[in-house]
Symmetry: C2
């Protein structure tokens, strides 16, 4: 058996953060530069927005179809957000894990907790923090024309999300975006070298120790 | 409190491998490129070899001095090799850990086990494997003019060392040296971002969540 054929189990790479901390930008950069990484496409009951592609941005389904998936245990996690349902399908994840493919998830602490209950050994969880409260507020103001009441609500929601930082394995304080992306990539690289993920290792080691 | 001042606890970076797998070359490369990393200087009772500098290559001490250190619990681990004693001093390690400084150790599985008993939460352990038995033998033959009997003995010792691979967190199969160095560096970088090592994190998070 050659070292080139040592198989590893894929991993589930979870990035969470308050909105405005930079999670989505980091996720996009990783997807562009890392070809072992795919994003999980969620199922949703909400209507497609202009430009959204079924099967690429989301799998768009009816409420009945969604309920059926929940009932058949076909979803790894699901949640109701602003009256619409969103869920992560189980099967593509299982398939990816078996094929050394890693999946990235852009989900909140509640989704993370649901995934932990089912696939805890395959999860790698990262929480992205803003460098300061002032900077988070600046970023939230910069991207939307919201009034002060809305901004205050968003800051409050950010605090709620941040309060769950201690449920995550890794912390990235996103001060310098390119450094944050490099750190996230290093975490991926390191986790792929974890002994317990390299499923074929006992066989490979046996070939190293054979008497000849 | 600014994100620039978040303190983390240093870590103990342990590389083990059978001789000939490339551990020493990887260690040297990391020391050159990573300024947060220092190597642990051991105490030994053996005589200095020509060119070796006291306090840099080793701290050279008498058998009495060494015994005294063992008795006073001043060594993290120690071993007898070919009639000489070698040991890792505790104090510089404790100091480094408190000062966000990382220390690299080039020790075998027995030293690793001793360190685990004392500082398990600070350890990051990597086992370096050769890409094949043939390649390991080729490397052993290339660097010494040993006869077949000696080579066979070295291969046997390599097998003994390899049999402990499963006591390590990470595995690097050293096929391509520059890739192996990059992976070791990524593991360092990732481990520095582990939440539990960032000692000041609760204080920092508090500043993010303050009402203003």
């Amino acid at each position: 058996m050659s070292f080139l054929h040592i198989k590893r189990r894929g991993l589930l790479f979870i990035l969470s953060s308050p909105s405005g901390a930079g999670k989505t930008t980091i996720t996009r950069a990783l997807l562009e530069q890392d070809n072992q990484l795919k994003i999980s496409v969620s199922y949703t009951t909400r209507q497609p927005r202009p430009g959204e592609v079924d099967g690429q941005d989301y799998h768009f389904v009816s409420k009945d179809e969604f309920d059926q998936m929940v009932e058949n245990n076909q979803l790894l996690e699901h949640a109701k957000v602003f009256g619409n349902y969103y869920g992560t399908p189980l099967m593509p994840v299982e398939k990816a894990l078996a094929n050394s493919q890693d999946i990235i998830f852009d989900i909140d602490w509640q989704g993370t907790q649901q995934l932990k209950q089912k696939l805890v050994n395959d999860l790698v969880t990262i929480f992205v923090l803003p460098p300061s409260q002032q900077e988070l507020e600046r970023r939230l103001r910069a991207r939307q024309q919201d009034d002060d009441v809305i901004i205050r609500e968003r800051m409050k929601k950010a605090s709620d999300e941040i309060s769950h930082y201690s449920e995550y394995d890794y912390i990235i304080v996103n001060h310098d975006l390119s450094r944050s992306i490099a750190t996230a990539q290093a975490i991926l690289e390191a986790e792929r070298s974890k002994r317990r993920r390299i499923t074929d290792l006992p066989n490979f080691v046996r070939t190293l120790m054979q008497e000849n």
